[in-house]
C-alpha cells in the first residue's frame, strides 16, 4: 500500500512540473458545464453588481456600465455617461410601500457620481466636480442615506444631496467602509481604521464625526468586512487579520498569517527567493457570519469566527494573487485569481490516520508538492483536530486575463468578469439544455408542429 501511495505520488509529481494545481476534466462536483461569453466591454471589467435575481450590472475601466440578463446572456442596457473608469458601483434598493426599486450608483475617476435606473437606462441623478474620486460606496438603508468614500467621507441622501462630509484626510483616502451598529461607519484609511458616527441633529440634519482611530495594523488595510452584528474584520498588506468588536471597537482576535513554514523550507523553496510581502497580503475577506475567508496572496485562509481559529488553509490555491472569494452554501468555497481561473473548493475533514488513506489527504501532499505544507498541517492536526483541508473540486477556465470578480445567481449560474474585457456566464448545462428543450416545445406548439 505504501508503495502504491508513493508510486501514485511520483506519478503525479512527474506530471506536475509546476506548482499549478491540476484537476483535469473529471470534475463531477463542478456543475458549471456550460459557458456563455458576454462581450461588450472594451477594457478591464472590475465590478459586478447583482440587481435582482436575473439581472446584473458590470462596469470597468472603459467607463461603461452594462446591464445583463443572466438567463439569456442578453445585454439589456448600456449605461453611458462616465468618461473615465468606474471606481465603485453599488446597487441601491429603496422600498416605497410594497415596491422595491433598485438603482445603481456608480463612481468614476472623472469625479462624478451617478444614479442609474436599470429599467430604463436613464441617468437619474448625477453629481460632478467632486473634490476627489470616490473609491467606495456604502448604502445605509436604515438611514436612507448612502456614503461615498474618497479623500473624505461624504453622506448623501436619496436625491443626491450632500448631507454632510468629514474633513479632508490625507491623500491615501478611504479604501473601504463598513456599516457598524449605532450609526457608526468604519472606514479603512491606509493603516488605520477610522470610526465615524452619524448623528441626527436638530432639524433632521445629519452630521458626521470621527470618533475613534484604530491604528493596530502595521501596513495598509486592503480588506474590511462585516462579519455579523457584533464583529467586523480587517486584513492588511502584511497578512494581519484582526477581528474587531463592532460596538466597542476592541480587538477580538489577531492572526498574523505569515505562512511561517516557508522559513523551514527545503532547497526548492529557497530557489524561489524570499517570499514577497504580497504573498501574505490580504486582498479580500468574505464571511458568512461563522466562517471568514481571507484571500492571502495566492492562498486561501479559512477562519472560524466562532472558535477564533484557523479552519483550513492552502497557501497556493492559485498561481497568482487571489482577487475574490465566496463561501458557497454547501460549505464550499470559490475563489478567483489573477491567473485567470476560478476554483471551487470543498472543505474536507481530515481523516484519522487509522482509516484508509483518502485521496484528499494524499492529494494535499501531492498538490502541495513539497514538505513545506505537508509538515505544518500534520503538526496542527495534532493540535487542532478541527483543521480541515481545502480540496479542489472544480475549476472554471475560460478567461485569458485575471478574473476580477464573480457574482453568483444560484442555480442560474455564475458570472465572472475579467481583465480580458469579457464576462462569462457559467451555467449548468443540463439545466440549460432542459430549458432549451422546453423552449423548443413551446415554439413547436406556437408553430403548430413542425
Amino acid at each position: 500500500m505504501l508503495r502504491w501511495i508513493l508510486g501514485g505520488r511520483e506519478a503525479q509529481g512527474s506530471v506536475e512540473k509546476n506548482p499549478v494545481l491540476f484537476i483535469g476534466e473529471e470534475q463531477p462536483k463542478n456543475w458549471f458545464t456550460e459557458l456563455q461569453v458576454l462581450k461588450g466591454h472594451f477594457d478591464i471589467v472590475r465590478f459586478l453588481v447583482q440587481i435582482d435575481d436575473f439581472r446584473f450590472a458590470s462596469a470597468g475601466d472603459d467607463g461603461l456600465v452594462l446591464v445583463w440578463n443572466v438567463e439569456t446572456g442578453e445585454r439589456l442596457l448600456e449605461l453611458r455617461g462616465h468618461s473615465q473608469q468606474i471606481t465603485a458601483m453599488t446597487a441601491y434598493t429603496h422600498t416605497s410601500g410594497e415596491n422595491t426599486h433598485t438603482s445603481l450608483i456608480t463612481a468614476s475617476s472623472d469625479r462624478t457620481l451617478s444614479l442609474w435606473d436599470p429599467e430604463t437606462g436613464n441617468r437619474v441623478q448625477t453629481v460632478s466636480d467632486l473634490q476627489s474620486s470616490v473609491k467606495c460606496l456604502l448604502v445605509l438603508e436604515r438611514l436612507c442615506v448612502w456614503v461615498s468614500g474618497g479623500n473624505e467621507l461624504c453622506v448623501w441622501n436619496r436625491d443626491f444631496q450632500l448631507q454632510c462630509q468629514s474633513q479632508h484626510h490625507d491623500d491615501t483616502g478611504i479604501s473601504a467602509t463598513v456599516e457598524l451598529p449605532k450609526n457608526c461607519i468604519a472606514a479603512a484609511m491606509d493603516k488605520d481604521i477610522v470610526i465615524f458616527r452619524l448623528t441626527m441633529s436638530t432639524g433632521s440634519r445629519l452630521s458626521v464625526a470621527e470618533v475613534r482611530r484604530l491604528s493596530d495594523h502595521q501596513d495598509s488595510i486592503h480588506a474590511l468586512i462585516n462579519i455579523n452584528d457584533g464583529l467586523f474584520a480587517s486584513g492588511s498588506h502584511v497578512g494581519e487579520l484582526i477581528l474587531w468588536d463592532a460596538v466597542d471597537w476592541t480587538i477580538m482576535a489577531y492572526e498574523h498569517i505569515l505562512w511561517e513554514e516557508s522559513q523551514t523550507d527545503t532547497q526548492a523553496e529557497i530557489r524561489l527567493a524570499a517570499p514577497k510581502p504580497s504573498e501574505m497580503s490580504i486582498q479580500q475577506l468574505t464571511s458568512d457570519g461563522e466562517l471568514m475567508v481571507a484571500a492571502v496572496g495566492s492562498g486561501l485562509y479559512v477562519y472560524s469566527v466562532i472558535t477564533k481559529s484557523v479552519v483550513a488553509y492552502r497557501k497556493t490555491a492559485h498561481d497568482s494573487n487571489v482577487l475574490h472569494t465566496m463561501l458557497l452554501p454547501d460549505g464550499g468555497l470559490m475563489s478567483c485569481s489573477e491567473d485567470g481561473s476560478v476554483r471551487i473548493w470543498e472543505m474536507q475533514d481530515l481523516l484519522l490516520p487509522a482509516e484508509p488513506a483518502s485521496a484528499g489527504f494524499f492529494g494535499m501532499w501531492t498538490f502541495g508538492r513539497s514538505n513545506k505544507q505537508a509538515g505544518p498541517p500534520v503538526k496542527k492536526v495534532l493540535e487542532l483536530p478541527s483543521l480541515r483541508t481545502l480540496e479542489l473540486t472544480g475549476d472554471l477556465i475560460g478567461h485569458s486575463g485575471a478574473v476580477q470578480m464573480f457574482v453568483s445567481f444560484g442555480e442560474k449560474g455564475l458570472v465572472t468578469c475579467s481583465t480580458d474585457h469579457l464576462l462569462i456566464a457559467w451555467k449548468n448545462r443540463e439545466r440549460e439544455s432542459h430549458l432549451r428543450s422546453l423552449a423548443l416545445f413551446r415554439k413547436l406548439e406556437e408553430n403548430g408542429g413542425l
Binding site: G24, E25, N30, W31, L422, S433, L438, L440, K443, N447
Partner: protein, 944 residues
C-alpha cells in the same frame, strides 16, 4: 424532307414497353426509381458505349435556307465534348424531321403576309448507328430577310443513353421550353425593331418617290403620263403596299405575347406580359409626325433609300443566331441551356438518386443543417417544375424595364446613342404611336388573329394527345407540333454494342479505374489533366504498367511544374496570390496533356486530346462516379475545391511511403489551396465529396482517428496543429466533413490560424487549423492550447499525435476503421453520409420526443426527466455514454437551430453558444502517441 432511312416513329406505349422500360410516372410516387431492366442480364453500363462523344451535350442547329441543316453551337462549347461525333450529319438528322409546315404567305382573304406563330415541337430522335439519342426541340425564329420570315432552328439534348432521354422527357421539355421562350422573346424584339427600321426606310423611300413623282408630274405635260411616270407610280404603289405589309407584320409581332398560349410549358413571365399589355392598352397618343419628340426620335435612325421590290432577298447573308435575338435574351438563353446541361449531367441512375435524395432532404429540413449541404440552388431547380419563370431576371433591372416598351427596347444601336440618347419617354412615345397605328386597322387584324388562334388551338389538341398516346410518325407530323417522338434503331445496333464491349473488357480495367477516379474528381470541368490517373493509381491499385509509368511521368511533370516554375514570373505571382482558380489553371498548363494515362482508352484510335480523361458516360457510371462527376458549378466556391484533390493527389501519388508528407515539399505552390473552406464561398456537396478522399486517407492512416472524430461529433473543438500550411489545411478540409452544422460557408471551421486563439474562437470554430511557430507568438499559442486544453482536442500533424479524451463507443466504429476496405473517397463519403444522417435522425428523435424533455406529471423534477432521457438513450437506442454525448450534442444543435431559425425578430445580442465542458462525464485524457501508420501503396496494391 431529307430522307432519313432509319428514322422511325417511336410509338410510345407499346414499343417502349416492349423494350422493357418501366414508366416511372405510372406510379407517380415521390421516391420511385425505375429499375433497370434485368431481363437479359446485360451490363447496364455497356449499353451505349459506342457513342462517339464523351458526354451529353446540347446542340443548336439551324435549317438554313441557303445551305441546309447546319450545327451552330454546342453547349458546353468545347470540341472535346462531342469528339468525333459528326455534328453535321446529326444536324441533318434532327432538322430533317420537318415538324411543322410553317405556312407563310397570303392567307385567303387577306392581302398581307401572315406571320405564323408556330408552337415549338418536341421530339425524341435516335441514331443507333452513331449511338446518339436526342431530345430535339424545334422552334422558329423570325427574320425579315428569311423566306416566309421564319428560320427554323432546333435545340437538341444529345445523349448516348436513350433511356435517359425518354425518362427525363418531361424535365427536358420543360427546361428547353424555357430556353426557347427566352430565345423567341428576344427574337421577337429584335424582329420588331428590324421591322420598325424597315418601315422607316420604306416611308422615307416613299416620300422620296412621291417627290420625284411630283417633280415628274410638274415637268411632264398635263394628262400625259410617260412610261417613266407610270413606273414611278407603280413603284410608289408597291411601296405603299410594302408599308402596309410591314405595319401589319409589326402589329402581329407586337401582339404576340398576348395570344393565349396553348403550349403548357410556354409560360410567360408575368412581368413581360403586363409590360406588353400596358403598352397595348395605352391610349393612342399623338401621331408620330406630330410633336418634337417624334422628330427627335426619327433622327435616331437614318432611313435609307431602299429598292422597294421585295422584302425577301435570297442573295443576302442570313443573320446568325446572335443577330436574330436581342443580346441579353440570347445570353440568358445560353445560360439557361448551360444550366440545363448541368442539370442533366450524369447517368440516369444518378439523376434519380439525386432527385430522391433531394426529396428526402426536403423532408428533413430541420436536421439538414447538420451534415447536408444546403438545398438552395437545387431547390430552385426543382421548384422550376411548377413555376413560371422568366429567364431575364426582372427584378434586377426593373426600373429600366418599366419605362421601356416591350418592342423598342434597349440596347439601341450604338450609332443612335451617339446622335440622340434614347430616353424611355421617347421610346414610349414610339410604341404609343405604333399602337395608334394599329388601331386603324384593328377590325381586320382582330379577325385574323381570331381565326388563327382557332387554327392553332386545333392543332394543339392533336399534339397533346400525341404526347401521351404517341402514334404514327405521319400522325405526329401532320397533327402537331407537340411531341411526336421518334426512335432511330438500327438493326446492327446490338451487335456493335457487344462487340465493342468485348473489345474493351480486356484492356479496360485499370484504365477504367483510373478513369473513374478521374471523373470522380471532377474531370468534367476539364481542368484536371494530370490528376486523373493519380487517384486511380492509389485507389485502383492494379494498374497497367503503362498507365503507372505515365502516371509517374505526369507526377514528375507536375512536381516540376510546381517546384521549378520560377522562370515565369507571371505564374509565380499567380501562385502566390493563392487564388485557387487561377492557380489551378496554371497547374494544368504546366502539365501537358500527353502525359495522360488515358491514351489507350478508346479503341477507335481517337486523337488524344479529344479523349483526355473524359470517359464516355455510358461506359462507366459506377454508382459513385456520377455522384462526383455531376458538379454544380454554379456555386461560387466550386472552383476552390479543385486544388484540394490536386495537391492531395500529388501527395499521395508521389509518396507511396509516407502518405501525406512527401509531396508537400515539392508542391509548395499548391499549399494554400489545401482547403476548400474559409474562402467565404458556399461549401458544396462537391467539395465535401472531394474531402471524402482526404477523410478516408485520414481514417486509414491514423489508428486514432476514431477519437478525433468523436471529438468533432461531440462538439469538442479539434485543433490541428502543424507547421506546414498545406498539410494542415488538407487535414482540416478532410475533417470538416465530420463537423456537425459547419454552416453554409463553413463558418465553424477555421482552416488556418496563425495567431493564438481565444475562448470566443473556440466557441465560433469547432475545427481549427493552427500554425505551429517557434517565435514568442508560438509560445503564447501553446499557452492558449494548454489553457483551454479541456475544451479542445489537439491533433499534432507534425508529430502525428492526438490529445483528446478517449472514445469508447460503438457508433463511430465503422466510419473510422483504419482497416476499412473502402478504397475510394467518394464511396467513403457516401458511407459517411449514411452514418451521419442516421445520427442526425436519431438526434432529431431525441430532440423532438415530448416525454424525453417534458415532465409527464407535475410532480416530476428536472432530474427525473433527465433520467428518462438517459434511459431512452441507453435502453432504447442502446448507446454507451460516449455515444450519448454525440447525440446530446447533435440534439442540442438541432434544438438551437430550430429555436434560432423560427424566432424571427427576436433580438439576441449574444448568440448562445455551447461549450462542451462536460467535466461530469468520466473522460480521461488519452495522450495518444502513436507513430503514424504508414500506408504502403507500392507494388501489388494498397495495404490490407
Amino acid at each position: 424532307m431529307i430522307g432519313a432511312p432509319d428514322v422511325v416513329a417511336f410509338t410510345k406505349e407499346e414499343a417502349f414497353g416492349e423494350v422493357g422500360y418501366p414508366n416511372p410516372w405510372v406510379v407517380p410516387e415521390e421516391f420511385s426509381v425505375p429499375l433497370f431492366p434485368s431481363n437479359n442480364n446485360a451490363n447496364p453500363w455497356a449499353k451505349t458505349s459506342y457513342a462517339k462523344f464523351t458526354k451529353d451535350f446540347i446542340l443548336i442547329s439551324e435549317f438554313s435556307e441557303q445551305v441546309g441543316p447546319q450545327p451552330l453551337l454546342t453547349i458546353p462549347d468545347d470540341p472535346k465534348v462531342f469528339g468525333t461525333f459528326d455534328l453535321n450529319y446529326f444536324s441533318l438528322r434532327i432538322m430533317s424531321v420537318d415538324y411543322q409546315a410553317s405556312f407563310v404567305g397570303h392567307p385567303t382573304g387577306s392581302g398581307y403576309p401572315r406571320l405564323s406563330f408556330v408552337e415549338d415541337s418536341r421530339v425524341v430522335l435516335g441514331d443507333s448507328k452513331e449511338g446518339a439519342f436526342a431530345y430535339v426541340h424545334h422552334l422558329t425564329l423570325y427574320d425579315l430577310e428569311a423566306r416566309g420570315f421564319v428560320r427554323p432552328f432546333c435545340m437538341a439534348y444529345v445523349s448516348a443513353d436513350e433511356r435517359k432521354i425518354m425518362l427525363q422527357f418531361q424535365e427536358l421539355s420543360l427546361l428547353f421550353s424555357r430556353a426557347s421562350e427566352c430565345l423567341k422573346t428576344g427574337n421577337r424584339r429584335a424582329f420588331a425593331r428590324e421591322l420598325q427600321r424597315k418601315l422607316r426606310d420604306l416611308e422615307y423611300t416613299r416620300s422620296v418617290l412621291q417627290k420625284e413623282e411630283g417633280l415628274q408630274r410638274e415637268a411632264g405635260p398635263q394628262g400625259c403620263y410617260s412610261a417613266c411616270a407610270v413606273d414611278k407610280a407603280n413603284e410608289l404603289a408597291a411601296m405603299e403596299k410594302s408599308i402596309y405589309e410591314h405595319r401589319d407584320l409589326l402589329r402581329q409581332i407586337t401582339s404576340y405575347p398576348l395570344r393565349p398560349r396553348r403550349d403548357p410549358h410556354a409560360a410567360h413571365c408575368h412581368h413581360c406580359v403586363t409590360e406588353s399589355q400596358r403598352h397595348r392598352d395605352a391610349p393612342p397618343g399623338p401621331d408620330r409626325d406630330t410633336g418634337e419628340e417624334a422628330g427627335q426620335r426619327r433622327q435616331s435612325y437614318t432611313p435609307q433609300l431602299i429598292k422597294g421590290k421585295s422584302a425577301k432577298c435570297f442573295a443576302k447573308r442570313l443573320k446568325n443566331l446572335t443577330e436574330l435575338c436581342e443580346e441579353r435574351f440570347y445570353e440568358a438563353t445560353v445560360e439557361l441551356l448551360n444550366h440545363t446541361e448541368r442539370c442533366f449531367r450524369g447517368d440516369l441512375c444518378y439523376l434519380y438518386t439525386r432527385r430522391l435524395d433531394r426529396a428526402l432532404r426536403r423532408k428533413q429540413n430541420i436536421t439538414n443543417f447538420l451534415f447536408e449541404e444546403e438545398l438552395g440552388e437545387e431547390e430552385e431547380e426543382v421548384a422550376v417544375l411548377g413555376r413560371i419563370f422568366c429567364s431575364l431576371k426582372h427584378t434586377v433591372g426593373t426600373d429600366s424595364h418599366i419605362h421601356t416598351p416591350s418592342i423598342v427596347l434597349c440596347p439601341e444601336p450604338p450609332e443612335s446613342v451617339e446622335v440622340n440618347p434614347p430616353c424611355p419617354d421617347n421610346s414610349a412615345q414610339q410604341s404609343v404611336a405604333l399602337t395608334g397605328e394599329e388601331r386603324l386597322e384593328s377590325s381586320l387584324s382582330d379577325l385574323t388573329m381570331e381565326t388563327q388562334d382557332q387554327e392553332s388551338s386545333e392543332e394543339n389538341k392533336d399534339s397533346f394527345s400525341s404526347d401521351r398516346s404517341g402514334g404514327e410518325e405521319e400522325e405526329g407530323r401532320e397533327g402537331g407540333d407537340q411531341t411526336p417522338v421518334f426512335l432511330l434503331e438500327a438493326e446492327e445496333g446490338g451487335e456493335g454494342e457487344t462487340h465493342r464491349v468485348c473489345e474493351r473488357e480486356g484492356e479496360a480495367e485499370g484504365v477504367l479505374n483510373r478513369e473513374r477516379e478521374g471523373e470522380a474528381e471532377g474531370v468534367f470541368n476539364g481542368e484536371r489533366e494530370g490528376e486523373a490517373g493519380v487517384l486511380g493509381r492509389e485507389e485502383g491499385g492494379a494498374e497497367t504498367e503503362e498507365g503507372g509509368a505515365e502516371t509517374e511521368e505526369g507526377e514528375a511533370e507536375t512536381e516540376e511544374g510546381e517546384g521549378q516554375r520560377a522562370p515565369d514570373p507571371e505564374l509565380l505571382v499567380q501562385m502566390d496570390t493563392a487564388c485557387c482558380m487561377s492557380q489551378e489553371g496554371f497547374l494544368y498548363n504546366s502539365s501537358p496533356p500527353d502525359t495522360l494515362p488515358a491514351s489507350g482508352l478508346q479503341p477507335g484510335s481517337l486523337p488524344l486530346p479529344l479523349v483526355v480523361n473524359q470517359e464516355p458516360q455510358a461506359l462507366l457510371p459506377v454508382q459513385g462516379d456520377y455522384g462526383l462527376g455531376s458538379p454544380h458549378c454554379q456555386s461560387p466556391g466550386a472552383g476552390l475545391d479543385l486544388p484540394v484533390s490536386s495537391s492531395g493527389d500529388t501527395t499521395s501519388r508521389g509518396s507511396d511511403q509516407d502518405g501525406w508528407d512527401c509531396t508537400m515539399s515539392a508542391s509548395t505552390g499548391s499549399e494554400r489551396a489545401g482547403s476548400p473552406l474559409g474562402y467565404g464561398g458556399l461549401v458544396t456537396l462537391r467539395q465535401k465529396k472531394r474531402a471524402g478522399q482526404g477523410a478516408l486517407r485520414f481514417v486509414r492512416q491514423y489508428p486514432f482517428a476514431l477519437h478525433a472524430l468523436w471529438s468533432l461529433l461531440s462538439g469538442r473543438t479539434l485543433v490541428v496543429l502543424g507547421s506546414e500550411e498545406g498539410r494542415v489545411r488538407r487535414l482540416v478540409s478532410a475533417l470538416a466533413l465530420y463537423v456537425p452544422g459547419p454552416g453554409r460557408c463553413g463558418e465553424r471551421v477555421q482552416p488556418w490560424l496563425s495567431c493564438p486563439f481565444s475562448l470566443t474562437d473556440l466557441q465560433r470554430w469547432k475545427l481549427i487549423g493552427l500554425q505551429r511557430m517557434a517565435s514568442p507568438v508560438g509560445t503564447s499559442m501553446l499557452c492558449s492550447l494548454s489553457r483551454y486544453s479541456r475544451y479542445i482536442s489537439v491533433l499534432d500533424a507534425d508529430r502525428k499525435t492526438l490529445r483528446c479524451p478517449g472514445y469508447r463507443g460503438t457508433l463511430l466504429a465503422n466510419v473510422a476503421d483504419h482497416r476499412t476496405r473502402l478504397r475510394r473517397g467518394s464511396t467513403y463519403f457516401l458511407h459517411l453520409q449514411n452514418v451521419l444522417s442516421r445520427l442526425a435522425s436519431r438526434a432529431f428523435l431525441l430532440s423532438f420526443t415530448h416525454h424525453l424533455h417534458l415532465p409527464i406529471s407535475h410532480l416530476e423534477q428536472r432530474q427525473e426527466v433527465e433520467e428518462r432521457t438517459r434511459g431512452f438513450l441507453r435502453d432504447q437506442l442502446r448507446l454507451g455514454e460516449d455515444d450519448c454525448s454525440i447525440l446530446m450534442y447533435l440534439s442540442q444543435l438541432i434544438t438551437q437551430h430550430y429555436l434560432d431559425s423560427t424566432s424571427v425578430g427576436a433580438v439576441t445580442t449574444q448568440p448562445h453558444l455551447e461549450k462542451d465542458n462536460t467535466p461530469g462525464t468520466n473522460q480521461q485524457h488519452l495522450d495518444i502517441l502513436l507513430p503514424m501508420n504508414v500506408l504502403t501503396l507500392g507494388g501489388g496494391g494498397p495495404g490490407p
